[in-house]
Subunit: 158 residues, 2 copies
């Protein structure tokens, strides 16, 4: 299965991407939307996350835009041992927000799960994150509740 949607494609995260992923995730403009992060990442926690991750896949979002293909964000699917894995997504190149890149990447992730015969997908989005809430609604997810951290819970059944 090719993980391509128009000018967006996903490639699997590698150890050589860790600095870029860390740089994106250390930007307060981005991490203000992560309920569990209050400051820039530390290498030790980031590297430990990398070597200990289980039941999930991580990809880099590659955008075939101006001048040359480039890495612009990340998609992950976790809880791969459940029927409804959870999709997480962010565009790390902040000036690209609002251009539809995340939606195309999300569509690829959904296709991947359909292809792997899962029953559906879930997502968690901070209540105040209007852009991200709209993304999942537009892609067919339904709001199914809110958890104690103030995250909206989304579910899509294939």
């Amino acid at each position: 299965m090719e993980l391509i949607n128009d000018d967006v494609e996903l490639r699997e995260l590698q150890a050589t991407d860790l600095e870029l992923l860390m740089a994106w995730r250390s930007n307060p403009i981005l991490y203000e939307w992560f309920y569990d992060q209050a400051g820039p990442l530390h290498w030790e926690e980031h590297y430990n996350w990398w070597i200990n991750r289980r039941n999930r896949k991580d990809w880099i979002i590659v955008f075939n835009g101006e001048f040359k293909k480039r890495d612009v964000g990340s998609v992950n699917i976790s809880m791969l041992n459940s029927d409804y894995p959870e999709i997480g997504i962010f565009v790390g190149e902040i000036s690209l927000w609002g251009k539809g890149i995340a939606q195309k990447a999300l569509e690829i992730a959904i296709e991947y799960l359909k292809n792997e015969k899962y029953s559906g997908a879930t997502a968690r989005v901070m209540n105040e994150n209007i852009r991200s809430n709209n993304l999942f609604l537009k892609s067919g997810f339904n709001k199914v509740g809110m958890n104690e951290k103030g995250e909206e819970l989304y579910k899509l059944t294939f």
Copy 2:
């Protein structure tokens, strides 16, 4: 000449580093110290900077720290057609600030210019940037004035 100082080394910036450099430079915790930047970078300006740069060298700072070597920041030397080129430096991995990485990288840049038979080096630092002002003072630079943008001007004669 090997560009190594203890656990810090410099390698030349390549096109494949552009996303990482952009991610670091798009972090407000960092760019609040750049007098000429008010928001995250745009790819077009960043890429144009890359293909149009002249009279300068750019390196990635590689830190041989925990777990594996990693990219943590950047050093540049501009105005290479003058007797006193200008050194710019930042550590993009924000949680590494205060660990002496920038000073070791600066020492390598100074050695490089000495080796190339330049007369000395200059630097510009925003007045409010105490950390960076201390870095250049500790490395032997002298304050020689301030420009109209509020940047302290530093000079070191070899």
